[in-house]
């Protein structure tokens, strides 16, 4: 499938972010898979070591985002071509061994926030999405509500956890820990509008250097779909989203609520009518 943002569509290349929103641009073409982001995140947020073990899946031993892993570097080996030949002449920047530092997308319309019955999840003054730990009761509604599988319940405290975009650091005007640590500026932090401009220029540069596969994931065309409108943490990718374990066209589960409600209501009405009719008989 083609996942490139179509040119000429006024909506392409915008995240739908609210003015002043802060977020991440994660440019995989600059990522060297060093995992500094994972460690810097755990260090700042004082998160414990995960369940521990060799996965055999390339250099990824932390597996996925979770309650104690808020940045996760995925490794996808696509070294040989279809004939099994190893590459020598490579595409400019990251190629053949894809690495992506995944993170909470801080959606413009966030499934987790909308599903949270306790009011624990808020949209902050930075337009980021944060789970307030002193309110969360661990009901877990946010977990299936996220189309990206980001929030997770902790086995230790029973509450839901995910990236806060270093809410505490933002309050003091500090850059989030992962973006600060990233040695190659694969992770960039800033106002989403500026990041999007930068991302567009970067994608154009990459196209000029022959990386025609490069595109933005997280605008309204790709990733920010299905009522999400856009991601405040978005990505530059060079392969289809599924390759990185990202949904190509995610949707807010809530979007299905009204049709489901209507069809349920219709069914109930139909059944009622049928019952009435049968009783009459």
């Amino acid at each position: 499938m083609s996942v490139r943002a179509s040119q000429g569509d006024g909506r392409a290349g915008t995240t739908g972010a609210r003015p002043g929103a802060l977020g991440f641009l994660t440019d995989t073409t600059l990522c060297i898979g060093c995992k500094a982001c994972e460690v810097a995140c755990k260090q700042w947020n004082q998160l414990p070591m995960d369940d521990f073990g060799f996965t055999g899946y390339s250099y990824d031993n932390t597996g996925d985002l979770g309650a104690t892993t808020w940045r996760h570097v995925a490794f996808i080996e696509r070294v040989s071509d279809r004939e099994g030949r190893r590459p020598t002449r490579l595409k400019a920047f990251q190629s053949n061994w894809l690495m992506l530092s995944d993170v909470c997308k801080h959606c413009v319309y966030a499934g987790c926030l909308e599903a949270c019955p306790t009011g624990a999840i808020i949209r902050t003054e930075f337009d980021t999405v944060v789970i307030q730990q002193d309110i969360c009761n661990g009901c877990g509604y946010c977990v299936p509500a996220c189309p990206f599988g980001v929030p997770a319940l902790s086995l230790t405290d029973g509450k839901a956890h995910k990236c806060t975009l270093c809410y505490d650091r933002l309050k003091d005007g500090l850059e989030p820990a992962c973006a600060k640590a990233c040695p190659t500026d694969s992770i960039q932090f800033g106002p989403v509008e500026q990041l999007m401009e930068r991302a567009k220029r970067r994608v154009a540069d990459l196209h000029a250097q022959g990386v025609t596969e490069a595109y933005i994931y997280g605008d309204r065309e790709v990733g920010g779909t299905g009522g999400i409108e856009g991601l405040n943490a978005f990505f530059i990718l060079t392969a289809p989203p599924e390759v990185y374990n990202l949904p190509a066209q995610p949707e807010l589960p809530q979007r299905k609520v009204l049709p489901a409600f209507l069809s349920t209501a219709a069914a109930a009405l139909g059944l009622g009518l049928a019952a009435l009719l049968s009783l009459r008989r």
Partner: protein
């Protein structure tokens, strides 16, 4: 270190990490820079963003390869063949022969035009050997390697070489260095290199052409290497071949050019500059050796002091060092207590120490922040050696394998050894870490940076200075009435540093001042090594660090003002705060920048001095047209167009008449353990002078031994550090790479029926190690000498302590050395591989 030192003069990276951003082409070879120096790699990506071509030459497709433009796979241990192929291609290329830049740089700045003695015979003449080989002793005599004018004279030691040797500026004389180099490398054709290394010929030509297109007046190319070049029996010559190539391409001493040696520890460079190494004294002075005839100070200086070049100042450096160490006991009358300084008479390198311990010669060992039970070659023998010590002192922040070998090791876990059988008295002293103490590190680009103390260390943790200072005090007391040499040696030592309140911690500012050097009479710091004297009136602990504390209390390693250019106010870079070494070469022979784009240091005729963005690595007021008068000494004997100030004639050396033990020119020999012979010189398959440790507990595999058909290479991962003491113990790092593994190709996995994640056992005649198989396309079999050779990759971090554990890769490696650096060969040897385990399921790996 000797690889760069022998050809360029100093054993240090010639350039900075930041300067890589100015490169037009960067070749990363013998290094996995993105994984092992991720933050340094940001400058590679800056260059890439500006359009530079990035080439990664490496057996494996690593995280570095993933960001490169070109991945060139080669068989481990064939780097020199590949570099030789590039040299040969360059010398015969149209570009090199048509752009006058290259010959101008070569004739003025290198020894290419010098005429070599007729006695010299090349490997081309002697089937892989140079003239002067003594097969009995397995060493070379270097008399025939000299320049023509020197023939009649005797060898005056490693640096003796007249500055007035005959030259042929046309480079046509059949015995000029240039023609010898050209003939020497003529055999390295792309076709032969392909057969040896597995690098397809067109790819080799692409690399050479890319380098040629990105070298010249207006463009520069850089090389980055690390221990994947060093750790071979010909490691020094691999590095020296790179220096030779970069001289041919005119890339040394220029921004965006040079050779960046990527060091693996915080102060590998510093621990060589101020060496905790057996064969050096601080500042690269040779350690006095009875084998080199250093019986007295007079003899030491007579053999080691050349008449010309920087090393003419050796007496000032040596006498100032003796004065710093023996203080009042060092007088002109007693040759500054030279007799008290111990003399060496053999190899006491790390590898040599292991048999010394195993055989009971060495009875006590201090291990301060090193973990040989995991990091030492033939680690099985290392642990046996530790068990034969009378006593062992380990200072570390964690209980590393070396401290625990007596109750927990593969041997103990297998029941072959019990604590009750081990006599070693073991002390574990907890160490303070940076943040809990102050001090300086010298980074990969010779930059000395100070780290301040933030908190007191916990519990019994102490700094190394505390430990040494107080142990020294106790020993001085124990020996105070001993008037024999062994008593006088310790009692004469100056050891009176002021201490600070907490636990009487010695004041490191005072230690730094001693390293910097000071005038004995008034204790005032010297501002540069030029102020050092050979009469005992100055003391200096390490002359190349002189200037780091130019006045009392001013510590330049603590300077913290960076900028976008050379950052001269950030830290202190030896020598004399120079950032790019030999930067005289960034200007043409007349002193003008080679081009506007590559401007760095140049001659300002109005001011009559060298100026630029950097500190000139050259006498600042010596004009480009300076010609030395007859009989000039020291640096005065160098003309104004000779940038390599450390070398006797100021010329970079394509040909090294003395100073390298395995030949004046780099030659490819196979690793000691190789699946194949040497196609270049079948009669000389392996280094004829590699030091061997032939003993039953250190057996070697013969070439092509069918029991060990696979090539194995060992390496590091981003997520761990060296032998693991600083990373397998840290939860956030341990979880990222929690277990030892070996990387094998799908082709080999299919042959052996191994699935991804299976347990496998890697074996050599030295030992075995088990690990999980990571089956990946990133490892590939290569076609060598017409047949398929499989490669196995194994990270060497893992051991039996800490959170992340795994089989020890160094159980497999052997004691064997490069003759120059005395560094082992862990980047290429042979092994076998089988599916299965040594230990039982559910047990920790062995």
């Amino acid at each position: 270190m000797p690889g760069l030192g022998a050809r360029l003069g100093r054993g240090g990276a010639t350039t900075t990490q930041q300067s890589l951003a100015d490169s037009d082409c960067i070749v990363i070879m013998g290094s996995n820079m993105a994984e092992n120096h991720p933050v340094g790699f940001r400058f590679v990506l800056k260059a890439k963003t500006k359009g530079a071509t990035i080439i990664h030459v490496d057996p494996r497709f690593s995280r570095t390869s993933a960001l490169a433009d070109l991945h060139v796979p080669l068989r481990p241990g064939t780097d020199l063949a590949v570099l030789g192929g590039i040299v040969n291609y360059v010398l015969n290329s149209e570009r090199w022969n048509s752009d006058p830049f290259f010959k101008e740089y070569l004739t003025h700045y290198t020894n290419a035009p010098l005429i070599v003695s007729e006695q010299f015979k090349d490997t081309e003449d002697l089937e892989g050997l140079f003239s002067g080989y003594d097969p009995e002793q397995r060493r070379y005599r270097t008399e025939t390697w000299q320049f023509a004018a020197e023939e009649a004279e005797q060898d005056h030691g490693p640096n003796a070489e007249p500055s007035s040797a005959p030259v042929d500026m046309t480079l046509q004389h059949p015995n000029c260095v240039f023609q010898i180099v050209k003939r020497h490398f003529a055999r390295y054709t792309p076709e032969l290199v392909e057969q040896i290394s597995g690098v397809p010929r067109d790819l080799l030509i692409t690399v050479a052409e890319t380098l040629l297109q990105n070298s010249g007046r207006d463009r520069t190319s850089a090389f980055c290497y690390a221990v994947a070049w060093t750790q071979h029996t010909i490691g020094t010559q691999i590095i020296s071949c790179c220096a030779l190539l970069q001289l041919l391409l005119g890339n040394i001493g220029r921004p965006g050019g040079g050779i960046l040696a990527l060091r693996g520890h915080a102060t590998i460079q510093g621990s060589t500059d101020i060496p905790t190494l057996y064969n050096l004294l601080p500042g690269y002075l040779p350690m006095p050796s009875t084998q080199a005839g250093h019986r007295s100070l007079r003899e030491y200086l007579a053999t080691e002091q050349p008449p010309t070049g920087m090393w003419f100042n050796l007496p000032r450096f040596m006498v100032s060092l003796l004065t710093a160490w023996y203080g009042d006991a060092a007088t002109p009358e007693n040759d500054f207590a030279y007799d008290l300084l111990p003399k060496i008479s053999g190899d006491y390198s790390f590898e040599a120490m292991i048999p010394m311990m195993a055989d009971g010669v060495m009875k006590g060992l201090f291990c301060l922040g090193q973990n040989p039970a995991v990091g030492g070659q033939n680690a099985v023998l290392v642990r046996k050696a530790l068990a034969n010590l009378d006593w062992l002192v380990v200072r570390d922040a964690y209980e590393i394998e070396t401290a625990a070998f007596w109750y927990d090791s593969p041997e103990v876990r297998r029941g072959e050894l019990r604590p009750e059988q081990i006599k070693t008295e073991v002390f574990f002293l907890p160490a303070a870490l940076p943040g809990e103490k102050e001090g300086s590190f010298t980074n990969t680009q010779r930059l000395v940076q100070w780290h301040d103390k933030a908190v007191d260390p916990p519990g019994d943790c102490r700094s190394e200075p505390w430990f040494l200072y107080h142990l020294g005090k106790r020993l001085k007391e124990l020996y105070q009435d001993d008037d024999t040499p062994k008593g006088r040696q310790i009692t004469a030592l100056t050891w009176d540093y002021p201490t600070k309140v907490l636990w009487d911690e010695p004041d490191l500012q005072a230690v730094l001042k001693e390293i910097n050097g000071f005038t004995v009479a008034d204790g005032k710091p010297v501002s540069s090594f030029r102020e050092l004297k050979d009469d005992g009136s100055t003391a200096c602990g390490c002359w190349i660090y002189s200037g780091i504390m130019p006045e009392e209390g001013y510590n330049r390693a603590r300077n913290r003002r960076g900028d976008d250019k050379a950052s001269l106010e950030w830290g202190f870079s030896w020598p004399n705060n120079v950032r790019i070494l030999y930067n005289r070469a960034s200007a043409d022979p007349q002193g003008r920048p080679w081009s506007e784009r590559k401007r760095w240091v140049w001659w300002d005729p109005e001011q009559g001095r060298w100026t630029g963005y950097d500190v000139p690595d050259f006498p600042v007021d010596k004009p480009p047209d300076y010609r030395p008068p007859e009989g000039a000494r020291g640096l005065d004997a160098h003309a104004g167009d000779k940038p390599f100030v450390m070398l006797p004639d100021g010329r970079g050396r394509l040909f090294v008449p003395s100073g390298l033990l395995d030949g004046p020119l780099p030659t490819h020999y196979e690793p000691w353990e190789s699946p194949v012979g040497n196609l270049l010189y079948p009669k000389t398959p392996r280094s004829p002078v590699a030091p061997l440790f032939e003993r039953p507990d250190n057996p070697y595999h013969e070439i092509g031994d069918p029991r060990f058909p696979y090539v194995i290479t060992t390496y590091r991962l981003t997520e761990h550090h060296t032998a693991g003491g600083m990373s397998r113990t840290v939860p956030w790092l341990a979880e990222l790479q929690p277990e030892g593994f070996v990387e094998i190709s799908p082709e080999l996995a299919a042959e052996l029926g191994i699935a991804n994640g299976d347990w496998v056992v890697v074996s050599t005649l030295r030992g075995e190690a088990e690990a999980r198989a990571l089956v990946t396309d990133r490892i590939q079999p290569l076609v060598i000498h017409g047949r398929t050779v499989h490669q196995i990759g194994m990270p060497w971090h893992f051991g039996y302590k800490g959170y992340a554990q795994g089989g020890i890769a160094n159980n497999l490696s052997a004691l064997i050395e490069d003759p120059n650096s005395r560094i082992h060969e862990a980047k290429a040897f042979t092994c076998n591989l089988r599916k299965g385990r040594i230990g039982r399921e559910g047990e920790h790996p062995l």
